[in-house]
């Protein structure tokens, strides 16, 4: 059983890595297998999305498969499939002793994840879906995108740089080849990488306190599956030879065998360690009727207080002034639905940021409120929205960003560029520039220029091309801001004014 499990873990982890690596632009306009496929099988995201957005979508069928499987077989997902669980286990394997640091409080902590689940679902119910922040798959994809992949990319660059210095002629070409196949094409940079990375590494290093700490005590998906696993018919049992030596409970990486005689059905990952270690070879798994099943106890008082906590927290965050007036630089990707709905759906998995062709989609911090943390925002100074690209909508797992055709996308305004005439070079110094006009991608350029005479310091007159923005044509892609030669602070800046998704944020059309 253990060997099978290891194979399965490797298999799913490699599938995950494969899907992750190919969730990017590799020369085709449509991504056939984005890594969101994993999220489709995640029942927690499905349930939370149903609760918060009151909508059922077709893809949720996949998560029903996971639930049904768990209903009959138990938490196989955690031990055999979940790539984050696998990662946690590999880190846990580095820890030599299996001593339980928290053994004394284990009995209380064991139900912590259930309370967290209740808290998140309750807050989801009141339109505050924080679940994406702590869903293991979403968390893994986000951390891989924002932290791990950039680090790997930089390490490779460094290696090939050193090889080049050592005289290896093809170093850069090989690096380039890797960039075109598995590494990110351009070295990624993400703001708030520290925060995401900190969270990720803290969770991973909790394994040194106790093996698979996250999976045992914190994971809300584990809790959800644990609830369903209570009804499973696939169980672990011991034969007559068992003398309660306790070896099994020493190696158990889950909470299933705190006491060797008491197997907690809802906590077992079916990893098979106990079967492997048993000196009597008397641990079995199978479809057997049990005499008695044990579950972690949930106190009613705590259950209610965590639900109430979620309820109050969802109102608490509405104090935030950004809920009254949006941040002007909150430029959501094209296809994003209106802000309230968007926040209800976005699970902050970071896939849109990963596929973004120019790397312009960045994780937010608190600019859109607590519920907007790590949700995508276009930062044109870092990267713009490519005119012919619709990738972010293709990979979004929950429909927070709609899938658009190229025609539709080219009509959607995500904001409007405005020229800062106090900084723009032609306005300021009478020097021709209009790089913004050159790059403006719309068929009829939204940026145009007007030739005007400027009086220079020495009294001479000079004709200068002054750039202007036509707000009717501008779609807010931000390439002008990205390409503006003023490197410190561009003189043309995009804000979310006039965005299509918010009807009340329209602008007057100056044709009159």
């Amino acid at each position: 059983m253990k060997n099978l499990r290891v194979i399965s873990q490797w298999l799913f982890f490699l599938i995950f890595i494969f899907l992750f690596v190919q969730t990017t632009y590799r020369g085709v306009d449509e991504i056939s297998y984005p890594v969101r496929i994993f999220l489709f099988f995640d029942p927690l995201i499905a349930i939370s999305t149903i609760i918060s957005s009151h909508r059922i979508a077709f893809y949720m069928i996949f998560s029903a498969i996971t639930l049904l499987f768990t209903l009959f077989m138990g938490r196989f997902f955690c031990g055999w499939v979940c790539p984050f669980g696998t990662l946690n286990q590999w880190i846990a394997n580095l820890k030599k002793s299996s001593s339980l640091f928290l053994s004394k409080r284990q009995n209380q902590l064991i139900s912590l994840k259930y309370y967290l689940l209740i808290f998140f679902l309750a807050s989801s119910f009141f339109s505050l879906p924080l679940i994406g922040l702590f869903d293991p798959l979403s968390l893994l994809i986000r951390s891989f995108t924002i932290v791990i992949e950039p680090i790997v990319s930089f390490i490779f660059s460094l290696i090939f740089e050193i090889l080049n210095l050592l005289g290896f002629r093809y170093a850069f070409d090989i690096n380039q080849f890797l960039k075109e196949t598995i590494l990110p094409f351009r070295e990624p940079h993400y703001i708030h990488f520290l925060l995401v990375g900190f969270l990720f590494f803290i969770i991973l290093s909790l394994n040194f306190i106790e093996k698979r700490f996250w999976c045992k005590y914190l994971c809300p998906l584990g809790a959800l599956l644990g609830i369903f696993a209570r009804f499973s018919i696939f169980i672990r049992y011991t034969g007559d030879r068992c003398n309660l030596c306790g070896d099994c409970s020493n190696v158990c990486p889950s909470n299933a065998l705190i006491l060797p005689e008491k197997w907690l059905k809802s906590e077992c990952f079916f990893c098979g360690q106990c079967q492997n270690i048993c000196p009597k070879r008397d641990v079995h798994f199978g479809f057997v009727k049990t005499k008695k099943a044990f579950y972690p106890s949930l106190s009613r008082r705590r259950f209610i207080s965590s639900a109430l906590g979620g309820f109050f927290f969802s109102f608490f965050i509405r104090i935030d002034p950004v809920k009254k007036k949006k941040d002007p630089f909150l430029i959501r990707p094209p296809g994003a639905i209106s802000e309230d709905e968007f926040l209800k759906r976005c699970i902050k998995c970071g896939e849109c940021m990963k596929v973004c062709l120019t790397g312009g989609l960045q994780p937010l911090f608190l600019e859109a409120g607590i519920d907007g943390i790590f949700s995508p925002v276009l930062v044109p100074k870092i990267g713009y929205c490519q005119y012919y690209c619709t990738l972010c909508g293709q990979v979004c797992p929950t429909g927070a960003i709609k899938k658009l055709t190229i025609k539709e996308k080219q009509k959607i305004k995500i904001g409007i560029a405005t020229i800062d005439t106090t900084r723009c070079i032609p306005y300021l110094y009478g020097v021709d520039c209009i790089v913004c006009e050159e790059h403006c991608p719309t068929e009829k350029k939204a940026i145009w220029f007007k030739e005007e005479e400027k009086v220079m310091k020495n009294g001479k007159k000079k004709k200068v091309k002054l750039p202007k923005v036509d707000p009717e044509l501008c779609i807010g892609c931000g390439i002008c801001e990205y390409k503006c030669p003023l490197l410190d602070k561009p003189a043309i800046i995009v804000t979310n004014l006039g965005e299509t998704r918010e009807e009340e944020n329209y602008i007057p059309i100056p044709s009159i």
């Binding site: 021709d432 790089v435 068929e443």
Partner: protein, 299 residues
């Protein structure tokens, strides 16, 4: 052990050689002669290109056996062939085939793009066409730019793509199109795709930049793609209304003359109204006076 000719050696020597050539001003010698422009017309792009090159005296006049050839098209924008923002893929492919026929060892095709290169290489059709013709198509690699002396009054130093410098022969294949700030973007402007750095800054005093950057590069041959030209909303266009079909391929060894010719006959703009052509002429890079340019029609 046999001493190898290192890259550094090569760059220094070729720079020295260029410097020496500059000193002797071979352009002056050429300038006294008439600059010649070869124009071929025809619907079949590849055939037209070939007949244009035949008219100029065949590709082997320019490319020798075992040469490493860089072909520099314009692949700047994420636009399709008919939108006339990039060089026609068939022109590129035909030039690649011709270069191999002349015995070139390796033909490289690349451009430092404005839009994302993955998209522009694909959408323009150039990557596929050139690869099919056997060229080594690569994206520009940031690490392969080196700061070099441009030696102009306006641009003193700039990052230049080393593969262009290291090549034995360089063929410039621009497309003729309208350009907001440069008025027209043709052969001289196309060299912006062979430099790196933050190119937006080259746009302050753009016309000086174009002339001086182009002065740095010494193409063996310039082949202008005027199969269709962009007359409005340049340099990237987008609307087919702005495209004018000309069915012409134009070749010359004089990059200034070819720009002057195209400005005059394709767009109807007097070359004297385009400052960078004037500056290039002042830098003695070529001839801009239309009456001094001999035009030969290939058949």
């Amino acid at each position: 052990m046999k001493k190898r000719f290192s890259r550094r050696d090569f760059i220094f020597k070729s720079l020295g050689l260029t410097g020496g050539l500059l000193f002797f001003s071979p352009e002056n010698l050429f300038a006294k002669e008439k600059s010649v422009i070869f124009v071929a017309k025809g619907k079949d792009v590849a055939k037209t290109t070939r007949s244009c090159i035949d008219a100029i005296g065949g590709i082997s006049k320019f490319i020798s056996r075992n040469d490493i050839v860089v072909i520099k098209p314009n692949i700047a924008w994420d636009r399709r062939v008919e939108q006339a923002a990039n060089t026609h893929p068939e022109v590129v492919a035909e030039m690649v085939r011709l270069a191999y026929q002349a015995g070139a060892k390796k033909v490289k095709v690349f451009d430092n793009t404005c839009d994302d290169p993955r998209r522009t290489y694909k959408t323009s059709g150039i990557a596929d066409a050139a690869k099919k013709a056997g060229a080594f198509v690569s994206y520009v690699n940031d690490k392969k730019f080196k700061k070099m002396m441009i030696g102009g009054k306006h641009i003193k130093k700039w990052k230049v793509y080393t593969e262009v410098i290291e090549a034995d022969k360089v063929i410039n294949i621009p497309i003729a199109k309208q350009h907001g700030s440069a008025i027209l973007s043709m052969a001289l402007k196309n060299w912006f795709g062979a430099v790196g750095g933050f190119r937006g800054r080259l746009h302050w005093g753009l016309h000086h930049s174009i002339a001086e950057i182009a002065h740095f590069f010494k193409p063996t041959l310039t082949v202008m793609d005027a199969t269709r030209i962009l007359i409005n909303n340049g340099p990237q266009g987008g609307s087919l209304k702005d495209v004018k079909v000309m069915d012409m391929v134009i070749a010359s060894t004089d990059q200034v003359a070819i720009d002057a010719f195209c400005a005059k006959y394709l767009f109807g703009i007097d070359p004297y109204d385009i400052p960078y052509i004037k500056y290039a002429n002042e830098l003695k890079m070529g001839v801009m006076e239309i009456d001094k340019i001999k035009i030969i029609r290939a058949t």
